[in-house]
Every structure is written in C-alpha cells, then in structure tokens.
C-alpha cells in the first residue's frame, strides 16, 4: 500500500517536471509542423483565405518557380561540405601533434563559430566589395582583370558565399575531428611507427579509418547545416539575388512569406518548408542508419 502511493507520487512528480517541456514542444513545434503541412495544400494568406488547392503549390513551385536555379545554387553551396571537412581534418591532424601553443591555436580556429553569421556575412561582403580589400590586392599584384564586382554575377557570388561558410565551418569540423582522434588508443599509432609506417601512411591508413564515423557525422551535420542555416549569410550578402541567382530553399521560404511585399504566398512557403523538412528528415535518418550500422559493426 505504502509502496503504491510512493510510486504514484513519483509518477506525479515526473509528469509535473516534464509538463513545461512537453507543452512548449507541442505548442511551438508539433502544432506548427502540423499546420505547415496542412496549409501547404491551400492558398493560405495568413488571414482570410485557406481554400484547398491540392498539390498545386508543390507542382507550381517545381514546374514554374525558380526551382532549378535553387537546385543549382544548393548543389554549388554544398561544395562547402567537402572543403570544410578537408580543412577541418587537416587542422585536426596539425593540432593532434600538440606543437607548442596548440591550445591557443585550437581556441582561435573556433572563433568564427562564436561570431554571428550576420557579422561574418557583412565582413565578406565588404572584403569582396568592388572597392574592397580583395580587389585592391588583386589590382596591386597586376590581376586587374580579376578585380570584378563579385556579387554582380551568380557564380562568383556563390563562390564568395562558399568561401565564407567554409571559413566559418573549419573550426567546428576541426574540433569534432580532434575529439575523434583523441579517442584513438595511442598504442595503435606507436605500433604503426614500429611497423615502419611514415606520417602520411599513419594518417591515411590508421587514423582516418578509425575516425570514419566522426567524419561521416561531420559530413552529414554540415550538409544539414548548409540546407537550413544559410539564412543570415544570404540575407546580408546577396538577399538571394541578383534575381533568385543565389536563393536556396530556406531563403525561398522567407522570400515567399516575409520577404517581398508582392508575391507573398504562405501556402506556397509552407509547401517549400515541407519539401525542406522531408529532405532534412531523410538526411538525419541516413545519419542514424549509418551510426546504427557502425554500432552493430563494433559489437560484432
């Protein structure tokens, strides 16, 4: 009897402790997701109309909108993932050697992550501006023809964005990779040295296979990041322009809902949001699948 009431009071306490969390997630996440999915099949304007239009938003977006251009932009911007991972690995390898001052280097390499993307975006916009320092240097070393209006053309604008987000992401990758490397048993590397493996053989044949899980995580996490977190960079550097030339899915959601005073279409924006949601869910379940496979592999 006593045990019974004790158990009941424990359950009550548990429910009370979880209540604020559950309420917030239900109201602020679950309900809005349901609304976004439901409204993606309507001509919602946020106020009066929400008539059922079936798949029209999706079809219109894919057939008529700047869909192909967004696809192209996203693919180009995803180039930052291999770049980030490559430089991150390189920096992690350097830091792993623990040369003098490596802790200071480690702290500095992470600083871009602490600075707001708004600030970094502006910084790169000014650096690559027509009268900015990059063009001044190019002119000074006689490459006058390369000193162009970087944000005037979609390919160079996208290149500048890729450079800026790579610069921003290297620190995160390096710290994560370094974390993976420090969990390697040093005796494995010592054994490789005794077997006569040189530095690069040790890095590629011994170290990389042992942190392949961490590398996979880095790739997928920064891929998801590229698809969902570019808003501040794009907003301060190009506003998705010229035209839609540097727009991505996540920026398009903004343009279709809060961006222009014309062409606002909440229903369409919700449809794009749902497309983005499914891409992200696919990527994260891929990540989970990979990690589960790795776990089973480790156990076997």
């Amino acid at each position: 009897m006593l045990v019974h009431t004790y158990k009941r009071s424990i359950t009550l306490v548990a429910i009370l402790s979880l209540l604020p969390l559950i309420l917030i997630l239900l109201v602020m996440r679950v309900y809005p997701i349901a609304i976004a999915i439901a409204r993606s099949f309507t001509n919602w304007d946020g106020i009066y109309q929400k008539d059922w239009v079936g798949l029209r938003n999706y079809i219109e977006f894919i057939r008529e909108g700047p869909f192909l251009m967004i696809l192209r932009n996203t693919l180009i911007l995803l180039l930052n993932v291999p770049l980030q991972v490559f430089f991150g690995l390189l920096v992690a390898l350097l830091l792993y050697e623990r040369v003098i001052g490596w802790k200071f280097f480690r702290a500095v390499i992470y600083t871009p992550q602490i600075i707001s993307a708004v600030i970094i975006g502006y910084l790169f916009r000014i650096f690559f501006g027509f009268r900015g320092p990059v063009n001044i240097i190019l002119k000074a070393i006689g490459l006058e023809s390369m000193a162009i209006e970087w944000f005037g053309n979609s390919y160079t604008a996208l290149a500048v964005i890729v450079i800026s987000i790579t610069w921003y992401g290297i620190g995160w990758q390096a710290i994560v990779m370094l974390g993976g490397m420090s969990s390697i048993d040093p005796s494995v590397l010592e054994a490789a040295i005794i077997d006569g493996a040189n530095y690069w053989q040790r890095a590629f044949r011994v170290m990389f296979p042992m942190i392949i899980r961490v590398i996979e995580f880095g790739v997928i996490a920064s891929g998801v990041w590229t698809l969902t977190q570019l808003f501040p960079f794009l907003h301060v550097m190009t506003r998705g322009g010229p035209g839609y030339e540097t727009t991505t899915l996540d920026y398009m959601i903004y343009l279709k809902s809060f961006g222009f005073s014309f062409g606002i279409n909440y229903g369409m924006a919700c449809a794009i949001a749902v497309i983005l949601l499914f891409i992200i869910l696919a990527l994260t379940s891929l990540e989970m699948l990979v990690s589960k496979r790795a776990e089973i592999g480790r156990r076997a």
């Binding site: 424990i10 306490v13 548990a14 402790s17 979880l18 604020p20 969390l21 917030i24 997630l25 602020m28 996440r29 679950v30 809005p32 997701i33 976004a36 409204r39 946020g46 920096v91 040369v99 003098i100 280097f105 480690r106 702290a107 500095v108 390499i109 992470y110 600083t111 871009p112 602490i114 600075i115 707001s116 708004v118 600030i119 502006y122 910084l123 000014i126 610069w167 995160w172 710290i175 974390g179 530095y199 961490v214 995580f217 996490a221 698809l227 808003f231 501040p232 907003h235 996540d250 959601i253 903004y254 809902s257 909440y266 919700c270 949001a273 749902v274 983005l276 949601l277 992200i280 869910l281």
Partner: protein, 278 residues
C-alpha cells in the same frame, strides 16, 4: 638523436602552417579594428595601413548615439538571459526525470523529444508568426524566448541527461535519508554534480541566442524591440558608403559573445570534443 632533430624540425613546420592558418582567422578581426579607428577617406586611401592620422573614435560614438547600440544590447540581453534562465529551469527538471526517475514509456517520450530537434526553424516559423499575431504576442520578447526554448531544449536535455545519468544513486539516496525533498535533492546534489553540462549549456545557448538573426527578425518588427543582429542586418545596408562605421558596428556587436567565449573557451572546447553539442 637524429629522429628527435627531425621531429623538432617537423614540429617547427607544423607550427608555421598553424600560424599561417591562425593569421587568416584573426586578420579579419584585426582589419575591422584598425579600420574602425580611421576616417572614411583614410580607409579608402589605404585600408591595410595602421591609422596614422590619430585614432578616430567617431565611428564608435555614432554607433552609440545614433545607432543606439547599447539599447540594442539591452534588448538582446533580455532575450538571451531569459532564454538561458528558463532553459535551465525546464531543462534541469526534465533531464533529472529522464536520467533518474523510472516511469513507463520514458524511452518513447525521450525519443519523441529528441525527434523535434531535427525540424528546421523555417518549417515552423510561418504558423508561429500567424499564431503569435493572433494572440497579440508579436513584438514581445517572450515570443522569441519561447521560440528559442522550443529550438534549444531537446539538445540541452540530451546533454544534461547524459551528464546526470552518471551521478551515483547512493548520493541521491543519502540526500533523501538526510531529509531532502525532491527539489532539494536537485538543488543540493544534481546541480552541483552536473555543473559542467549546465555551465556549457549556459554559455553555449547564450551565444546562440545573442547571434541569431532569423527568429527575432520575423517575430520582432518594431524598431525599439529589435535585437543587435536584426538591427545590424537591416541598417547596415544604409551605411554601405561608410565601411569604417560598419566595421565599428560589426566589431562592437561581436564583442559580448567573444568575451564570453575567451573567458570560458576551455570548457566550451571540452564539451564540443565530447561530441555533446552540435
């Protein structure tokens, strides 16, 4: 002997490569600093040179007097501090239950909470905005704080639950025998024992909410309610003709997060390398 020599030669090379990398990471900050202390003309004459016509603090004075950056700091601080405070209260209570209190269906609830972590904020922002405007909460700090709580709580709980799990049960039982009630147990045992995770969450989510643009930009439309980043993004375009002024603004708004980072960087990096936080 010879291997040692080769080793130190290699170390010197690694040191040099790292130094070059570090310079490329610090140079933009240095560039902003020297040019924020120049006049516009001096900047356009030679942006790479140290200021030599005397230091100009005008850019910073204008930032404070016209751009009202201090009141923007105040707005941002209210949101960031409020977010962190509520995040801790709700997060610690929930994490303790997930870590130590057995109940039916716990694993399912925990998984469901974590699942929401993967949904991008762009997906939910339109219904949120419409909902908030219906109940008259657009342009309140609390709307942004609520949105942040929903975004950050699952990750923070993942971090804290992992940390609370390793607290020995004997300690909690001993506290109970000493007459601690449920909340006292959390206050006197769980919080001190889990302080590394709690500390990491405080720093990390403070910086995250300080730096964010998207959510406050949508939910706060009134000028006087704006956060630093929203105001920067909106107003800097107007000053594109005077980069020195822009540099002053960019640098000033980066300072609070950078100060927090450099005081606590060892803890942050430690937490990151444990793979605790993305």
């Amino acid at each position: 002997m010879s291997t040692q020599k080769r080793l130190s030669k290699r170390n010197l090379m690694l040191f040099l490569i790292l130094t070059i990398l570090i310079v490329s990471f610090l140079y933009p900050l240095y560039f902003m600093l020297i040019n924020s202390l120049k006049t516009r003309t001096e900047y356009y004459v030679d942006p790479f040179r140290l200021p030599h016509e005397g230091l100009q603090f005008n850019n910073y004075i204008t930032m404070v007097s016209q751009f009202r950056i201090l009141s923007l700091f105040k707005n941002t601080f209210i949101i960031s501090a409020g977010t962190v405070l509520l995040l801790l209260i709700i997060g610690v209570l929930a994490s303790y239950v997930f870590a130590k209190v057995p109940f039916k269906g716990k694993a399912v609830v925990f998984l469901a909470v974590l699942m929401t972590m993967f949904v991008p904020s762009q997906v939910t922002i339109i219904p949120l905005y419409v909902g908030f405007s219906k109940v008259g909460m657009v342009n309140t700090y609390f709307s942004v704080i609520l949105a942040y709580l929903a975004l950050f709580l699952p990750e923070a709980i993942l971090l804290m639950t992992a940390n609370f799990r390793v607290i020995p049960d004997e300690l909690l039982e001993a506290a109970e025998i000493d007459g601690c009630n449920y909340l006292q147990k959390i206050w006197y045992v769980v919080i001190p024992m889990g302080r590394s995770a709690i500390f990491l969450a405080i720093i990390f989510y403070f910086i995250m909410s300080w730096n964010d643009l998207f959510t406050p930009m949508i939910l706060l439309t009134k000028m006087e309610k704006r956060t630093v980043m929203v105001a920067l993004a909106a107003l800097m375009g107007r000053y594109s003709g005077s980069p020195t002024f822009q540099f002053a603004g960019l640098l000033l708004s980066a300072v609070p997060a950078l100060v927090v980072y450099f005081i606590f960087q060892r803890k942050i990096i430690q937490g990151l390398s444990m793979g605790a936080i993305k």
